[in-house]
Symmetry: C2
Subunit: 374 residues, 2 copies
């Protein structure tokens, strides 16, 4: 793994190279992780213009290690700011100092991450340095996953499917959304996840189908639609699954009809995934099905999003999206419909875009999408 991180930093350096020598200061946590491996909270990575890379931590990471500190095995220098005295220091400022001493003419920072106040403190402390914007260069590089990253996502998906499957075998009626969410998160960890990929959502009855629903004390009742959205985090990689069930012996007609509609929309989007396809075309595939049935408003701004070290990475599968999909890009396809006061349906999968020659999109989240009555 160590050569992987060094190779990623080299590639980034090459893509951002300029005539005078630009050092890069990476501060967004997922980007630091991608380029340096798991790092302590608040760590900042300097990708030096001449190839000397340094990870600057707030505290000494070796103090909390069962093994060698992050980076030690791939030539990445790891340093900590001073102890108690300089505890208020900003590792980004130390990074700029190092870059300046190494002769960098300019420093590129992540203006979509640093606050105005933090950025101002950096520039004030380094008046001779030209500051530029790194933009989303690291996010762009993270778009296409290598086979180890996809392998981690596969494990995350297996853990997620198992946790969900176990829950479906238990009694649900009478339990609260909050307890079911907790139970799911416990099972994710039991089956090997670092933790949940995002806060687990469990929504029953008139809450079902809501996109960002936070679990409440509402109890599951017979006849309810129950929507569940969860995901495991494994080696930092995050997947997502969403499923909708009916509680009790048999679904009502309106429930069957709504479920089939969302299923069709989700299938249309899944089947549209291919290298070279426009992101907005995937969104349009789902959106068109829902619009034809009068449910355009329900869908929300996106049909799906990229996953990796973060949930909700690039690409965005939305009407305004400008890019195209590529092979080995993992995405969610997560449409849904919510009828206020009644409930609704959400069906989310995580898939890896692959060419037709390679079998088409690889479905990671394999829990059945048949409407189950539990």
């Amino acid at each position: 793994m160590s050569e992987v991180h060094a190779a990623r930093r080299s590639r980034l350096r090459a893509r951002c190279a300029s005539a005078g020598g630009t050092a890069l200061v990476v501060s967004r946590p997922a980007n630091v992780r991608y380029l340096a491996g798991a790092a302590p909270s608040g760590a900042v990575l300097l990708v030096g213009h001449g190839g000397e890379d340094v990870l600057l931590c707030l505290r000494d990471p070796a103090a909390d290690a069962d093994g060698p500190p992050v980076g030690a095995d791939d030539g990445l220098r790891v340093t900590a700011l001073d102890g108690a005295g300089a505890g208020d220091g900003d590792p980004a400022r130390a990074a700029v100092d190092l870059a300046r001493k190494a002769g960098a003419e300019s420093v590129a920072v992540e203006e979509h991450h640093l606050t105005v106040a933090r950025h101002r403190a950096l520039t004030a402390a380094a008046p001779g340095v030209r500051f530029t914007d790194l933009g989303c260069a690291v996010e762009h590089q993270r778009l296409v996953k290598d086979e180890d990253e996809i392998a981690a996502l596969r494990v995350a998906a297996e853990i997620t499917d198992r946790a969900l499957g176990e829950l479906l075998e238990s009694i649900l009626v009478g339990r609260t959304e909050r307890h079911l969410a907790l139970e799911l998160e416990r099972r994710l960890i039991d089956h090997g996840a670092d933790g949940p990929a995002f806060p687990t959502s469990v929504a029953t009855g008139s809450h079902s189908g809501l996109a960002g629903h936070r679990p409440t004390d509402r109890r599951v009742e017979e006849g309810d639609f129950l929507t569940v959205r969860l995901g495991a985090r494994f080696r930092g990689y995050r997947c997502q699954i969403g499923r909708t069930f009916v509680i009790g012996a048999s679904p009502a007609d309106w429930q069957i009809e709504l479920y089939e509609l969302v299923f069709s929309a989700q299938r249309a989007a899944r089947e549209a995934l291919a290298p070279g396809t426009e992101c907005r075309a995937v969104d349009a595939a789902a959106r068109g099905v829902l619009e034809a049935a009068g449910h355009a408003q329900s869908l929300g701004p996106v049909t799906g999003r990229g996953v990796g070290l973060e949930i909700g990475e690039d690409p965005r599968l939305s009407p305004a999206a400008m890019g195209k999909l590529g092979a080995c890009v993992p995405v969610t396809v997560e449409p849904g419909v919510h009828l206020p006061g009644r409930g609704g349906v959400r069906i989310d999968d995580t898939l890896v875009v692959r060419s037709p020659a390679d079998g088409g999109p690889e479905l990671l989240t394999i829990t059945t999408k048949e409407l189950l009555a539990l």
Copy 2:
């Protein structure tokens, strides 16, 4: 409660008033919550210069409500950005637009929250408006808690003490740090917490005593020091407790000695809490005890921090802190010592600063600090 939020906004408006009329755009989530009540993720609050306040949400909050939307009962207007088409919109931009239309000459924003990129987009879209920095005006106002806030903290502390107490009655040997942390968080919710106040830390054996330790799969063994740090979140208010135990029949001499040292340091800091006392004096009380025993480096940059809607609010009890304590300011006192390779001790309490006439500091986290062998 509704009058409370309106009153807070009025007080903020008065403190930030300027001759020409400055509108305030509040974006930090805890600050939005303090001024408007629980709001959807990403919501931005406009505190208008003329008294017209508006909460701008990404999506329609009424779609996810079991009751009236936040703010409806105290005259706070709540609006959502358009649905699918404007899904990429920034509520802060909508806030600036409204302020401009209402005749504000300048807009104060939270430069310690907005990213450089986001701030640039705001200023570019409103070229005739003068942008200033609100700074930490809301955080400053949040420092002294009213009796309802302290009551919420008391409940959070009771929940936390109960969850910890129950765990201590169960078998610990052989269980992993991760499972114990999960168990504690489940019990917090069982006893009425919204959720944990922060990620629960459980550290055993050579991990014990580390300040920011994330639970691993290490199992608790006889003879271990076991340090636990957790807290409940209740109505948004967060408390913190930390305790250290010895696993097995009787502690070793070095464990007793280290525990008594940290206990003395923590007690010295607790006893230094009083209205008018300098924050750095409280830190010095703990730091002095540890320095005399040769453990200065272990303490870290702070002895304690404020709590409320956030863990780690102002004030900071650190050597460089410039302010003084006031009555009704809740803080943690959380010193510790970690001996690399051996383990260590942390003892954390949450207390409310009160004058001697009112009984001195009010201890919220009442689980015993006697060294227990479990």
